[in-house]
Amino acid sequence: MNVLSIVLFVLFVAFVLGISFYFAGRAKSASGYYAAGGRIHWGINGIAFAGDYLSAASFLGICGMIATAGYDGFLYSIGYLAGWIVALFIVAEPLKRLGKYTFTDALDANYNHRGIKLMAAISTLLVSICYLIPQMVGAGVLVTPLLGLPHAVGVILVGLIVITIVATAGMTSTTYVQFIKGALLLVFSFVLVTVVLIRGLSTKPDQGGRVPHREYRTLAATESEGALALDDPAWQIAAVREVKGLRFVKLLSDGRESWWTAEKDAATGALKLRESQFTARLADGTQMVNGSPASKENELSQVGNMEAIAGKTGPEASTGSLNPFKFLSLVGDPKSRIKLWKNASFDDNGGRVTVYYPVFAAGNKVLRPGQRFKVEGTTTDRIDFLSLMLALFLGTAALPHILIRYYTVPSPAAARKSTIVAIAAIGFFYILTLFMGLGAMTNGTVNLLDDNMSAPLLARSFGTFLFSMISAIAFATVLGTVSGLIIAASGAVAHDLLDRYAKVIKSDKQKVAAGKIVAFAVGALAIVLGIIFKGVNVTFLVGLAFAVAASANLPSIVMMLFWKRTTARGITASIFVGVFSSIGLILFSPTMFELYGKDPLTAPFPLKNPGIVSIPLSFLTLVLVSLLTRKKAEKAAAPAV
């Protein structure tokens, strides 16, 4: 924590709150509160779209995943951007033409059906909450290094600020916050990538002399009749554990414990032990890091470096400044060797140990899919990959906080133009994510406990100012996105449920008041969820939110626009099936079983992403129910004789 970080952070928060209070006067009517009066210029709305969309998942999560899994993280960038094609070509103009404040308005415009109002509102609420979780996790991630506060405090802080923003000025202030934040994010991400390229690559990254490069030791070992022995008498073997097909060896030296991985040299067949990092929870509850009690001074070291650059090692491997293409070609060179880190947890002496151990990958294997998504793995692995790419492609155009932004511009043509500005800005940013992620991977700025920190830590390797700016912008990113999501959720409850479904809202003023109360409730819920999901990669969580949105909303939007036989009951059933099948499948997925503390292999649903099942199921439901209820709908619509 330093003064500059705190000053910049406070300035950002003050600025954001200042905007909210400035625009508070325009949020007195429902139109002003939920849709910024429909008067935002398309250029501003386009960058605000980027601000909405480039959330914690994009900035923190994607960079973190690229830093730890290479190209697999960039798949999210590709999928997220591709989703805008669906938004532009299929959704933008019709949605603007049909709707008023919420996605439900557009869906229900031709039907005026209570079932649609109810289900679309529930869907909006649930998708918004799913999307809120990673944003709040991201908030906690940022505040810890920036202000030295615990994760939970960061989450609570964001929750309180966002509730203030939303409760004071609604969509108008959110739009301008997003516009400014989106623009700053693009500029400073570009600056960060520029300095990464100017620094170039080296096998011993020392963060510009700020943090000495840590060397990990190896020890020669022998094996006789299954028993390991060490050549160096200074070390004693205390325990050996076999986990995930790997051998982890606990060594003692001068009374201090350490964990090592045993491996055979591919060329000589010689056995050696490689030093790892580890955390341990002892039987008495004491937390240990690398053999000493955990403290602010004793944390896991940051990692990430290349062992060889295009076949070169040592000082002569350092490249100096690189152009973007040379940077990618050197990282992806088959003769480049990149040190990645995996982890394994197991019981030891009544306690629990997690060992973080290095694995080495050739550059060409890192710069293609396969490190995280096993495209060459089992059929289930491949279907999982397909499911993810489908959900990313179809999810964007179904996200409630994105859809409501179409109501802030004056015309369908403005909706179209703002989408194009968004595609340009977001596409540019996503290209930068590959450089930021690989920069973190090769500059020793990966936090083993939380890969979401990779981009801010990369910025910190260039000094406090860049780190403070990037972190403050990232924090504003979270604020803006969470504000948009809470407005979407409050619109769903106050406008769709209370006003149009239950008809209990009697005036415009009441609708705004109800929206603000809901904003408080959803904000409080988001705080709780953000604390619970600490440590989970935020882009992965957003991938799940995309699957829910794509399953719940997209089939009804597309079919309503392109299939004349679509009925109100078909839409209602489709949303119901889409929401509950996708959330149900996620709850029974390997990822959630891991969170429950159970063996992921025992999860009843084998896929991590439900999209490939729940999206077609939702489409199928709509078609079947529409066909079954068509005659009834026609009869109801026929004029009385």
């Binding site: 798949l75 103009e93 603007k96 990959f385 492609f393």
Partner: protein, 97 residues
Amino acid sequence: MLHEPAAKTGPDPAFQFKRRLGAWMFVLYALVYAGFVVVNLVRPGAMEIVLFGGLNVAVVYGFGLIIFALVLALIYSRACGRREKRLHQAEPQGGRS
């Protein structure tokens, strides 16, 4: 603050054209996107092939998908804008889009 006046949307004579063009462009992009996914599933090793300047298929295809999206978006916007202008000139009493 660059605020434009709120506008009521009237009939849009270019609506059918825009919907058809959007659908076709969506199909075109979806095919190219599907190609990326299929190559990864069927021949993942092909993503390692270096195409030019040391850049492999994964990087070129990935960047290509992002740039292609922007190119299609610009073509779509230009085509829609021209059609809207032409139809509005032909039917001056028609509604604004």
